[in-house]
């Protein structure tokens, strides 16, 4: 590689957050479309510990690390889209704020076999975040087992939040789901010419 040239420093980035409960397909979703192998990294340190965490004798305080995984997608010569999967456990909310700051939007994945696994993520985006979001049913076997309207009702999802489906294993299906996120953000922020709805 030649040394840094001006096109390099023109490169900018955007971010979409992939949220949802444990086992709903976040990592699969990131991995199927990312051009690099998804990176799983110990991103945050926290003093939060579960009552079941065992402390070794002689150590009076411990920090644990919270992992996140992410992927990268080149949109053009000067634009890269990062996809960040949220840590699953609800006790990591402060990290969600860090993860979501400056995001274009979020895709909240859910699995019809465990809808409740994604309730916490939906609550977060409904109540605690200004990041526009779309809810997406991951079709594990490529088939939709329930009617989307029934799912919307079961999720108590507000009518202005799009509910879509995707197959997290299929790159083009994931691309369509991400497009739906971008289009939803466009609708949500239309009218405020420069996107006055600022990210926190």
């Amino acid at each position: 590689m030649a040394s840094a040239s001006s096109p390099d420093t023109m490169l900018t980035s955007a971010k979409i957050v992939i949220a949802g409960g444990f086992g709903v397909g976040k990592t699969t979703c990131v991995g199927s479309i990312s051009e690099i192998p998804p990176i799983n990294t110990e991103a945050w340190m926290t003093a939060a510990s579960e009552p079941v965490d065992r402390l070794d004798p002689g150590i009076d305080k411990t920090t644990t690390t919270v992992a996140m995984d992410f992927g990268r997608l080149t949109i053009g010569q000067d634009l890269v889209l990062y996809l960040f999967g949220t840590p699953g456990q609800a006790r990591f909310w402060p990290m969600w704020d860090d993860l979501c700051r400056g995001a274009v939007g979020a895709l909240v994945l859910c699995d019809t076999r465990h809808l409740d696994a994604s309730f916490a993520a939906m609550n977060y985006f409904e109540q605690d975040s200004d990041v526009p979001f779309v809810v997406c049913v991951n079709l594990f076997d490529g088939v939709l087992t329930h009617d989307l309207e029934e799912i919307r009702e079961a999720l108590a999802l507000s009518p202005d939040i799009p509910l879509i489906t995707c197959d997290a294993r299929d790159p083009s299906s994931v691309a369509r789901a991400l497009m739906a996120v971008v289009e939803h953000t466009m609708r949500r922020t239309a009218g405020s010419a420069t996107g006055a709805l600022t990210a926190r």
């Binding site: 590689m1 040394s3 840094a4 390099d8 420093t9 023109m10 490169l11 900018t12 980035s13 955007a14 971010k15 479309i33 990176i39 799983n40 990294t41 110990e42 991103a43 945050w44 340190m45 690390t65 996140m68 992410f70 990268r72 997608l73 949109i75 053009g76 634009l79 890269v80 889209l81 990062y82 960040f84 860090d98 993860l99 700051r101 400056g102 995001a103 274009v104 790159p171 083009s172 691309a175 369509r176 991400l178 497009m179 971008v182 289009e183 953000t185 466009m186 949500r188 922020t189 239309a190 405020s192 010419a193 420069t194 996107g195 006055a196 709805l197 600022t198 990210a199």
Partner: protein, 114 residues
Amino acid sequence: MATTHWKVRPYVLTGGRTRTRQPLLIHTLVSAPSYDAVFAASLLPETRSLYENAREVKSVAELSACSGMPLGVTRVVVDDLVATDRLVVHVDPYSSPFDFRLLERLRDGLRQLA
């Protein structure tokens, strides 16, 4: 990613500091426009790894992953290297993540993959 074994508490690398002069989001891009091998050799292993990896444009999250430092520590280290002109932060040409020009480009780019 291998688990890092810390011989020292992570924030020792930052002198205990946790704040940065500028907001560094996890997807903020950083690079080393004029890499200096002599300077690299003078750095602590984690910081050196971060600096070397920034020879190609990377996000703060990627630099955290490849240097094995948590995000908070990575931000302070990046911030220090920016303050001494060793690294540059790529300036975002868009007014916000909801800038219509950005959203249009993302939509069109994703459509090509769909």
